[in-house]
């Protein structure tokens, strides 16, 4: 444990040095050889749009310039794509970056914030990092529970309420009318964060229309999942003008890198590739589910680019399965809170990755159950 620097603020001095996730590249270095399957971080194993790669190649000689501090072209394209005014859109360094900024905008030391126990750890990291007090409610039947979240927000006077739809790490979703009702019940003084990182993969019934002037909700989208650009760090928030414009008071003016902007723009316009990704993801979900079933495990229905698999025991067994698969160079993750941690979580990937997973799973399961 490193000694605290005496110049840190008391809040920072009291924070742990714990990052939200294990880092895939760290895991791979520890393994000592390349992953046979990198299917743990819900990345898009089918790769980015060829048009995004072309755009990167074309723009690369220009990287001596700062990227556009207003992300103008991408913001205009997103406005057209969603048929809303560009003033309702804030582009940032992934949803992670936007969540951090949003917490900074709204949370002081002691500010109550409501989320579900075992949902997105990076959100929790930001809330704690700004001194907010996290009030967690349990999942209900593997779902984040809108009613419990709203009730907890009322009882604690929460400033922020977090929900993802579809849900990570369980893969399920709420239909749009459930979320619409939740929004209608957001207490005065609270803001609902609707994390839609996986919404591209969800059924039509989960698609909530955008009401851009609604001040009760801010929605987060990303190019890291269905657009295959996780390494590029581009996400965006959609919300009412008073909250969206507030990001301009604190964000890094030139923070969104240039190649991220051009790649996202090209990927957004390549609807054919996007359609392919959705199709391939859907097929890979079916295959992962069938591999799970062939091994006596229970796959949960997924509206995302991963399948959460109930292994029928507790978090200790799941941990051992993750570790045993790791020895076979298969990188997966698992939910980190009971009872969700009875599951493992397998991201969709290409045939080669799923072949490797299929080949390794039986022996990994056997050893995990014995040890």
């Amino acid at each position: 444990m490193t000694q605290n620097d005496p110049r840190l603020t008391p809040l920072i001095a009291a924070l742990p040095s714990t990052m939200p996730f294990n880092c895939p590249d760290d895991v791979e270095r520890a393994l000592g050889r390349p992953f046979a399957a990198r299917i743990g971080a819900n990345e898009c194993g089918f790769g980015p749009s060829p048009k995004a790669l072309e755009a990167i190649s074309k723009a690369a000689p220009e990287i001596w310039k700062y990227g556009d501090g207003d992300c103008h072209d991408l913001r205009m394209a997103l406005a057209a794509h969603h048929d809303i005014a560009p003033e309702h859109i804030m582009i940032g360094e992934g949803i992670d970056g936007l969540l951090g900024q949003l917490v900074r905008l709204t949370v002081n030391e002691g500010t109550p914030v409501v989320t579900s126990r075992g949902s997105y750890p990076t959100f929790d990291y930001h809330v704690k990092g700004y001194g907010g007090v996290l009030h967690e409610v349990p999942y209900t039947g593997d779902h984040e529970d809108p009613e419990r979240l709203i009730a907890k927000a009322r009882s604690t006077g929460a400033r922020l309420i977090y929900i993802s739809n579809p849900n990570n790490p369980m893969g399920n979703w709420h239909d749009a009318d459930v979320i619409a009702r939740m929004i209608s019940e957001v207490p005065e003084g609270a803001l609902l964060i609707l994390d839609e990182a996986y919404s591209d993969f969800a059924p039509a019934s989960a698609t909530l229309p955008i009401v851009p002037d609604d001040p009760r909700v801010i929605r987060m989208r990303t190019f890291s999942k269905a657009y295959g650009l996780a390494g590029q760090r581009v996400g965006y928030a959609i919300g009412a003008v008073p909250i969206i414009s507030a990001f301009d008071r604190i964000r890094n003016q030139f923070g969104v890198n240039m190649l991220g902007q051009v790649a996202a723009l090209a990927a957004l316009h390549d609807r054919d590739w996007y359609t392919n990704i959705l199709q391939w993801t859907s097929e890979a979900r079916v295959r992962i589910a069938s591999i799970a079933e062939a091994n006596g495990l229970r796959p949960l229905t997924s509206a995302t680019n991963f399948v959460t698999i109930d292994c029928g025991a507790d978090g200790e067994l799941s941990k051992r399965i993750v570790a045993e698969l790791g020895k076979h160079a298969i990188f997966i993750r698992m939910p980190f809170q009971p009872p969700q941690n009875r599951c493992i979580r397998v991201s969709t990937g290409n045939a080669e990755a799923l072949d490797a997973f299929e080949a390794a799973l039986p022996a990994a399961l056997e050893r995990a159950r014995k040890s």
Copy 2:
């Protein structure tokens, strides 16, 4: 003026929406045609290393993966490059990103911070953004003044002291022994930020050896200037372990984009291109100075990739020169505080850019003086 969202913290609600800089791409859009010379943001107009472009091209198909959350390979290479342990290095989203994080680590509402009036506005933006109280001292003879800064830090009990060496926007520098003396005088409880964004261009006499365990100073370096990667957003801090490790409590785990990491690594290893950039920059400085002199203006000696030019009057004349050059599609900037704003600031660039500057300057000067 947009109405404040009622859920903003009082600190945020009181902040202006003013970004540190005008954005070059905004200026270009307003102009309605491409710049003839983009020589205002101290970018590297000679372009990035061809090896960096090769590295981007090779890594681009992998951008569906998150970048390495530990920036391991780049950090190890920087450690070897500087001959220090990797624990003394924190890589971030440009110096801008690192400055924001450092302020967050150390500044609460009301924390006193010392800087020079008219130095780096993005630092001021971050300090105000976290509620710090900026105490500014004037430049002395166009230099940031170490003695005044230290004296002000003592009298205010400052937590942070900012100095750049070489200096932006004036282009001059202090020799290493002056900075070493300043470090030795940093008051107990304060941390000196030594912004070395331009140190690659400085004379050997300005090169301060790295003493990695010195807790009194944190040094900031970037790939945006001499390495020609401004659009990629990669910078790093060098400091004692207790302050460097503290960044891990708050930074975005996967915040440094993948292509930025691989491009920076390749650029760092391409010493030939780096040497070329220094040579071309030096030649361009000579040429900018001679253009200035041919127009009756006084170029200041520069240890950076720009030349600051004394126009012999006040900020109003400088503003008009910047505006008139803008009409010729020449993008430059100027210092924003008196008396430094008697100057304009011209970044080094390739021959085509300087040709355009040279051609436009006489008429721009004439009109600026008449209006």
